[in-house]
Symmetry: none
Subunit: 200 residues, 4 copies
Amino acid sequence: MGKWDANKKLKRDSLLNTSLELFTSQGINQTSISDIVKKAGVAKGTFYLYFKDKYDIRNRLIARKSNQLFSSAYLALQKEHISSAEDKVIFMMKHILLELQEDSKLLALIYKDLSWGLFKEAVTNFSDDEDNDFLAIIETMFEDSPVKYKDHEVMMFLITEMVSSSGYSSIIYKQPMALEDLLPEMEMAVRGIMKSYEIH
Amino acid sequence: MGKWDANKKLKRDSLLNTSLELFTSQGINQTSISDIVKKAGVAKGTFYLYFKDKYDIRNRLIARKSNQLFSSAYLALQKEHISSAEDKVIFMMKHILLELQEDSKLLALIYKDLSWGLFKEAVTNFSDDEDNDFLAIIETMFEDSPVKYKDHEVMMFLITEMVSSSGYSSIIYKQPMALEDLLPEMEMAVRGIMKSYEIH
Amino acid sequence: MGKWDANKKLKRDSLLNTSLELFTSQGINQTSISDIVKKAGVAKGTFYLYFKDKYDIRNRLIARKSNQLFSSAYLALQKEHISSAEDKVIFMMKHILLELQEDSKLLALIYKDLSWGLFKEAVTNFSDDEDNDFLAIIETMFEDSPVKYKDHEVMMFLITEMVSSSGYSSIIYKQPMALEDLLPEMEMAVRGIMKSYEIH
Amino acid sequence: MGKWDANKKLKRDSLLNTSLELFTSQGINQTSISDIVKKAGVAKGTFYLYFKDKYDIRNRLIARKSNQLFSSAYLALQKEHISSAEDKVIFMMKHILLELQEDSKLLALIYKDLSWGLFKEAVTNFSDDEDNDFLAIIETMFEDSPVKYKDHEVMMFLITEMVSSSGYSSIIYKQPMALEDLLPEMEMAVRGIMKSYEIH
DNA sequence: TATGAATGAGGGTTCATTCAT
DNA sequence: CATGAATGAACCCTCATTCAT
């Protein structure tokens, strides 16, 4: 990569980082492209050389950040000695939620307007090759498990929706209760779901 | 009721109905107040006599429609002869989801930007007295059940989040599958959750 | 005056007093007719039964208040034993300025957009018969004076313009200095003007 | 200067000139930003690239025009052979008033809402370096004078207030008389003031 | 590739005025 | 006389997008 290309990537990265900062601190709707380029120190026209609009940038940020969250949780998981898939899922759920609690502004960004469809598309299309692919991670986890689950993809979808949706409510609005109080409840519910999916 | 009061209600209702139509057909962000009043056939200033801004109108629509959905499901439930709380929850879940599938634009409106907090606030503050109070409905259901559940409020919160969130994904994006295929899966998950909350 | 007429006058006075309050507290441009009628407790349409617009009300307030200022100063003057016209003018100037300093919001109202022409017109057209006519007061003062002045009307005009204009600047903006420091300077200037108008 | 910089100055100047024209012909309150940009032939957004609002433009116009008036009077003064400060002040007063009489719309603009404070601020902050600094001009005049005056700054303030205020009334409303008749009176008053400030 | 001045449609909001009641 | 709901023109201002440099 020549100096020239490095410079190119510099501007692009600056726009990405600045956008994350602004989106999380003041919301995406309250952030104009003017704000972004001013803070990033590039010209307005330059923005359009790299991104279509601010929602394009948001999608890329979602992919990047989501993967980071999963990777971080997976790394932590490997340091533990947890064998059952059920416990692994619980562990990762807690790890991710606690991390999001520390960075609730990020949660607001990646959850707002986020859907399973957009999410998968984002991860598929926008993730840079350097990041881990968390879809594969999940797959491996179930392959290694002695207990088998029917439709484990759908099961994980349902669990993900429940956890993310109620976690969002809990962290952002403290509704119906704070995260620390909701976590045991979520754990019980997740185990309930997984139990009902077990193949005997 | 004088000629004026009747006229007042007419204009207000016209604005509400028009807003619902526009919000569901083109999205709330793409709907301007100009659009609303033009279609409603009233002057721009009239809008501000009745509503603070378009989000005020949206909140009132969410409350009204949510209550209607629950009421409709509850009415249908009473015509059936279902005794267990578990089956009742499953029945209402299916009823509401199938209704939303028929009116997916409405789903998009009442789900977008909707949180448990906003939802409860909306139902509490904006619901007109003529509508049924569905929070009371749920409460009664558990009181009548022979099987008891611990923390049934939290349990219902988790179920609601899972069902609405994954139902939204399924209906709007057909992700990860169409609703008819997802329903049995959701049923299994819901039963799993409720089983884990049973008090023996 | 019947009860009915009394009621009429009540609404009119309420509008006048409320306007004065709002004009002085938040400025005439920042005061809408809505504000006035809401605070006055009358209907919007009622405003137009008594006044053309808010500038109409302002003109009437200017006339009323200006006359009150002069009358008050004249009453105080009569309690002193001042013989020379020069000293009388100085006395009244100080009295009025000190009163305005206490009520600088009023000063802002009656000075802004105030011109000699509007002022005379206001006093002539809008002053209620119950108030004193200060133009006559001035006239009498010069008739009683042993020292005579040529063109004393113009002289008074020039003095009034200088005193009001620089007094306004001093009271409102403390420019070029506070009123207490400016008063001796103004006195010197006024005496200088009057000296040059003396008839020997 | 590149093609762009030239264009920039062109647009800015066009806005300034157009504003002056509209402000003087129909008043600043009756002039909307829409009016200005339409007449100037630029887009609405362009206005906000150069000015904060129309009052920002007015302040700049006041500073520019005030300086021009003083400079013009000073240039004319230098062609005469007037030695005494008193005569110099009288000469400049007349010169400026006569010029304003020719351009009474300009007078209306720079006098309305004008205060000594705003005036000094405007001259200090908004005057372009190319214009003369008339505050220095006045200072020099008194330094060169053999007759000395105490507090000549305050004296000039009082004279300025009197002259501008009564000149405005005379030119705009012909009240209490036309300028040509008022000028000798003002001269007498000014000489009276200055006499009373002389140091013997 | 990079710039940033210029655009102008469109946004939300206010408010003096009217007129049916 | 009195009301106040309704009006709709007019306001200011933002901002995504373009394009000559």
